[in-house]
Every structure is written in C-alpha cells, then in structure tokens.
Symmetry: C2
C-alpha cells in the first residue's frame, strides 16, 4: 500500500460527472482510487502535490493503436496506400520478440507522457504486455489473428494463453484481436468471436476502412462487412469495430442493436487517404458508444490524444458542414468516459470511487485566456500532450515531470530504446 | 551592427534549396542575413550557439490571421457559424486601441514561440504594428476596409497613412486589407485595388469562404466572386485571396493568369464548418502560389503553424482520397518559400544571402526515429511548436529558451497581457 496522495489547489478540474468543472479544487487518491474531489484538508501521511498552475482531467483512452509500429514512424510516408502497406509488412516481419517489446515501450512512454492512461493495442501482445508493465500504462491487447503471418491454430492457442496469463491482471486486459475480415477466413472469425464471448473479453477488429474492402466482402460473401460480422456471431456488446469510414447507416443500426462499439481514427483515415465518412454526430445521437484512436505512429504520426480529439472534432464539423456537429465536450467524453466503458475500466471521471487515472496539465499561454466555461475548448482545440506535467494510472505516477515510474528519465530512456530498435531493424 | 552568430552542429538543417537536408551542419549569420551554411569554422567575435540536439529550418510564414482576436479564444466555440460570428462582432467592438495592441502582442508572442517568423495580419493595423515591433516578428497588415465598422473614406486615409509610415520599415509591411466583398461596395474594392497597385503593396481579402457568399455575389453582381474581383481590377500579382473553399476551377485559372496567390486555412474552415473544398493539389500542379494560414485564434484555436501544416496535408489527402495528394515537403514549401514569396520577403530558405529568419527545434521523442529522409515527415506530422527552442527574425532572436528579445520571460509577459486584456474587455 502506498501513501495517500493529495493533489492540492488545481486551478480547474474537469470531472466528467454532473459536477462539471471544479475551480481551485483538491483531489485525494488512496489505494489507487479517487477518495474525494473538492476542497479537502491535508491529512497526516498525505503526499502533497502542488497543482496551482495545473488543470486536472481524467486520463485519456487511446481506443486503437499498434504500439510497436512506432519504430516505423516516417517510413515511406506520403506513398499511396497499397505501396505504403507493402513497405510496412516488409519491416514488420523483423519487428518481433525483444525488438517489438522495446518498440512498444517507446509507444507507451510517448502515450503516458502526453496524457494517455489506457490503450487498446493490436501488436505482439506478449511482448507489448512486458513493455506495458515496465511503463505502467493500462493496455488491452491479444495475439492478432492475421493469416498472412500466423496459422489460426497457433493464434487460438496463443490467445488462450494470453487470456489465462492476464485475466485479472490489474492493468493489462486480454482481448481477442482479429486483424480484419479480408485477412482471415469466416471460420476463424466465427471461432474467435466465440472465444471472446466464452472468456467475456473484447473482440477487436478493423472494419470497413477502405472501399475495396467493402466491395470485396460484398462480392465474396454476399454481405456488407458489419452484416457479415453479425452473421458470424462477431457482433456483441464487447465488439469493438475500428475505422468504419465506409459502413452504411443500417450497419451502424445493427451495431447499436448488438451493443457493439465504434472507434474513430480521424488522422489515420485522412493520412492514408482512405476516404469515406465516419458519421460520429449521428452515432452519438443514436447512443452508440464511440471511442477515439490514434492508430499507429506510422499512420498518424503522433500518439497524442489531445491532437486526436481536435482532429476528430474538426473532421466531423467539416464533414457535416456544421460547427456544432461534434463539440469539445463530445470528444472529451469519447476519450475518457466512453473509452473506459468500451475497455471495461472503472475510470474516466473524477469522483470518489473511480480508478485514479488522471492527467495534470500545465496552464500554458496557448490555453489563455482561460475561463471555467472555455475549459473544454482549451483542452480540445488548443492543448497538446506537450503540456502534460504528470500522468497517473491506478494511483501511481507513470510520468511526472519527465520521470518514469522507475525513476528513470523518460526522454533518455526513449532515445536509448530508439537506438536499440533501429540497430535491430537495420 | 550586432555580432555574427554561429549556429554550431545542428543535427539536421532543412535548407529548402537544391541542397536538401544538411547533417551536422553550421550556419553563420551576419548583418541579419545568412552568411553561410555547411561545415564552418568559428571566427573571432562569433557568438556560438550549440545546436547539436536541434533541427534548423526556415521560419514559418502564417499567411492569414487576425492577431488580436486571440483575446476571444474559446468564446462561443461550437456554436453555429452565424451565431458565432455575431458573438465575435459584439466583443470586437471593444477590441481597439491599447487593448488591441496588447492582444496582438499575445498573438505575436505565441507565434514566435512556435516557430512563426512572419504573418499576414488583418486587424487594427496601427496597434498591431506597435505590438509587432515590441515582439520583433515580421508582420504585414493594414487598416481593414469593413463598411460595417468604418466609413471607406476614413479607411482610405488610414491606409495611406499606414503605407507612408511603414513602407521601407525592416519588418513591418503595409498591405491593402479588404475584409470581404460582402462587407464592401464594388467602388470601395475597385479603389482599394488601385491603391494597392499604385503603392505596389499586397491586396489581401477573404474570398469564397462560404456557399452563401458565393450565392449572394452571383445574385447581386451577376458574377462569381473571383470573376467579380477581376472585373473590379482587384486580381493582380500581389493579390492574396484567402479561404476559397467554394471557388470554381475556372476562377482558380483566372487567379493563375493574373499571378494572384491563394491561402489555405484548413483548421478554420473545418472548425467553422464552412464546407467546400480547397483543391491544393491541383493548384500546386498548376503553379499557383499557395500559402497556409491559421486564421485567428478564435477560429482555430491555435496559432501553431506546425499543427497547421499537418492539418493542410491531412485535409488534402482526405479530400482527394490520396495519401500522396499533398506531401510533407509540399506544405513545408508553402509555409516557408511560398509564404515569403507571397509577402515579398527574401527569406524561407537557408543559403547565403537570404534573410536570417530561422527556427531551432529541439529533437524530442515524438520525432524519433529520425533519419535524414524522414525529416520533412517528422516536422509536419509529428512536431508541434512546443518543440521550438529559438526563433530568429532578420538575425535577431525574438524568442530563445523562453525569453523575448527584450530579455523578458515570454510566458510571464503573456500572462500579464492576458490579465490586462481580459480586464479591459470585461
């Protein structure tokens, strides 16, 4: 048991509860959870952190990424999609074992440094899990079904092993990770979905990212991708479908009926030029759960969820020709409350009882003038992860003033990892 | 005359010339200009700056902004366009004189701190000019023709006065600033264009930002906006048309024939939900000069040109459904070489003879892994202005390690200005 922590005198606290924004407030953390928020007195044994020049908000949830692809950042950028993908597959063959673990650690360090407390990952799950443990970030992951690289039999075994190893782990959550419909047989998808239900863990899949994919699915299987997933039994309340730029309104309706969630990766969709339209405004008004993801550092090339929240809001306003389409509070909710709901974590709000997944943000000129009612706007449209002073996961500082939880300098460790990964890939 | 400065050992230098990217290079600055770039020896009297953990690139040009509107950042965000505009006009009535000057200073400080060395401004020109002088940023500006607020006769007189006061000034450039066609009579526009030609200064106007505007122009004047500008004599080689989301291909052809320039403000267009399509890929291949602008901090809400370059590239890739549509180097060129060409400054490239408008960027984890050939990608897709260590305009440090050219702490000055401006507006 660690000592209680008292975050003292935060200028603003974005609670994401009915309380709205607190001013000049304190937060006490005990046993990994929030014990209280508001005007609080220092108690004996409290470790006090001066937050007078800070904003505190719930930690951000990155609902889709491929952590170790950070090693491929910048590679063949601006190439047409097919060509880019080909160059990714080539290097990815090398990105395994220890190298993958070190690369994943880079991504997780970058995430916690920019205010992300939890992510849904799809990459070398066992290696990523070691990295997530080193960093202290929450991570959901699982071996990826991807017939191009792995026989499904092996992936089923590995997934069983991953689930039994990590079910009940405090910060690592097992997931059934299916790369996509076009990289797996219908039988594999169906069996994988069954497995996710049997173990009550999320089923995570890329879906309807490109027009080609939808066209091929319709041609080969006679159904649109989401309909086909449903007929394979893969659409249930822990299903998480990512991208969906080319999904139709009735497919979203089907997702809603089944309780499945959608993840929006606006920067990646734009950067890869996949086109389409993710109708976030409509999905939110229907009550579908929508999370936000950066996708990999190779297709973004940033893992900063502050930047991604802005992109999501801007893209939606642009696509709907409506400045009110998706507001600052909508994307904040997607990145906190909803992200945690999708991944099954009791966090994303600042109130007694919730997991203490928090971000301390420095008040910087780019946020000024700052008033209580412009706080959501400042966080979404002006802030970036560079303003993060500290990130806490389950009551533990995973990044504070540039230092990792093990006391090491974060940037120094990052450079060291970069050198090792580049050395291994060359 | 100041002492020569030797920037020593930069990891990478993005020259924006045929030389491409230099590695481990030095740059000497003498009398406000670049004296050389490459491996250089320290000479007696050189002031040496250690750049070993830095990237050096030409200073960024923000081709469209309204500086003092930074005071309105966050105000009524997410409201529909018409409602938002109304709330802007209301507060803007107060944003004059000393208050406007202090607010403009905030914007200029924010710009130099994030790597912008030059901007094209449209707001309270006399007050902004004082602020630009205090900060040391290059600024082009002029009293705005806007019949709602000012009688044109007064604006003509003020413009004459601004031109005679600032023509030949080292860092402030006069401009004929016409708010828009729908806020001025054809006679005013025609006479303003004449004035810009007579004084050989830029003619800067918002054009075809919204569908309504194009519809109204067609209805009232029988022509599309760019055609009408042409028939009023307002389309010449120093004309700068901003937004153009609703301009047609033949209007762009007309602009190209006249040698006029176009400015893309992607974040503002998205945030205000004005819709339309700025066909940057086509414009570049036609040879039209295209600059990039953040627009005001009220409609963005950031003045960070690194973020704006990314947005421009992403929006274009997204709209063309093509990852190669507008590449990292294309937006870097727009924000350096072309921006300076549009504003008539001999800067935007790192080679002997050019004005020393430069940015020093810290090498940060978010840029890694970094190779010579991924440098443009890292600058556009991963960097933000928070990585700026120093910004130099005409050989003078306007921001270095958080300090202004007058030795004051930049963030402290910014907070002080915010308090004064808020106090005056309340």
């Amino acid at each position: 048991m660690t000592e209680p922590i008292l975050l003292k005198g935060a200028r603003f606290v974005l609670t994401m509860t009915g309380q709205g924004v607190l001013e000049d407030a304190d937060i006490r953390i005990e046993d990994g959870r929030i014990a209280g928020a508001g005007p609080l007195r220092k108690q004996r044994g409290d470790e006090v952190v001066d937050c007078r020049r800070c904003i505190i908000l719930p930690g951000l949830v990155n609902c889709h990424t491929h952590s170790s692809m950070v090693a491929l950042r910048g590679l063949n950028d601006d190439a047409p999609l097919g060509e880019w993908l080909k160059s990714m597959w080539e290097v990815e063959g090398e990105l395994t074992g220890e190298t993958a673990s070190l690369a994943s650690e880079m991504a997780f360090l970058e995430m916690v440094r920019s205010g992300t407390t939890s992510c849904l990952d799809m990459y070398e799950a066992f290696e990523a899990a070691k990295a997530a443990d080193r960093v202290g970030i929450r991570m959901s992951n699982g071996p990826a079904f991807l017939s191009k690289f792995n026989a499904p039999e092996k992936t089923f075994k590995d997934t069983e092993r991953f689930i039994s190893e990590y079910k009940g782990h405090g910060t690592i959550g097992p997931v059934v990770n299916v790369h996509a419909m076009y990289t797996n047989s219908p039988e594999t998808i169906s069996k994988a979905a069954e497995m996710s239900k049997a173990h009550d863990v999320p089923f995570h899949i890329h879906c309807s990212e490109t027009r080609e994919e939808v066209f091929e699915c319709r041609k080969e299987r006679g159904k649109l991708p989401v309909e086909e997933l449903d007929s394979l039994g893969a659409l249930w309340e822990k299903s998480i479908l990512v991208h969906l730029g080319w999904a139709s309104s009735w497919e979203f309706k089907r997702m809603h009926e089944r309780g499945a969630s959608a993840v929006h990766c606006p920067s990646s969709n734009l950067k890869l030029g996949t086109g389409g339209f993710f109708p976030m405004k409509d999905l939110l008004s229907q009550g579908l759960r929508v999370g936000i993801g950066t996708d990999s550092a190779a297709s973004n090339n940033s893992l900063d969820m502050f930047r991604e929240m802005k992109e999501a809001s801007l893209v939606q306003k642009g696509q709907y020709w409506d400045a009110s389409a998706v507001r600052a509070m909508d994307v904040l909710k997607a990145a906190t409350v909803t992200g945690n709901s999708i991944l099954g974590t009791d966090a994303g709000r600042i109130e007694a009882g919730a997991q203490a997944d928090l971000v301390l943000l420095k008040i910087d000129p780019v946020l000024l003038p700052l008033r209580k009612y412009t706080l959501p706007s400042a966080l979404v449209y002006s802030a970036t992860g560079h303003l993060v002073k500290g990130t806490m996961v389950g009551g533990e500082w995973v990044c504070l003033d540039g230092t990792m939880k093990n006391g090491k300098d974060l940037a120094g460790r990052y450079e060291h990892l970069t050198d090792k990964v580049q050395g291994a890939l060359l």
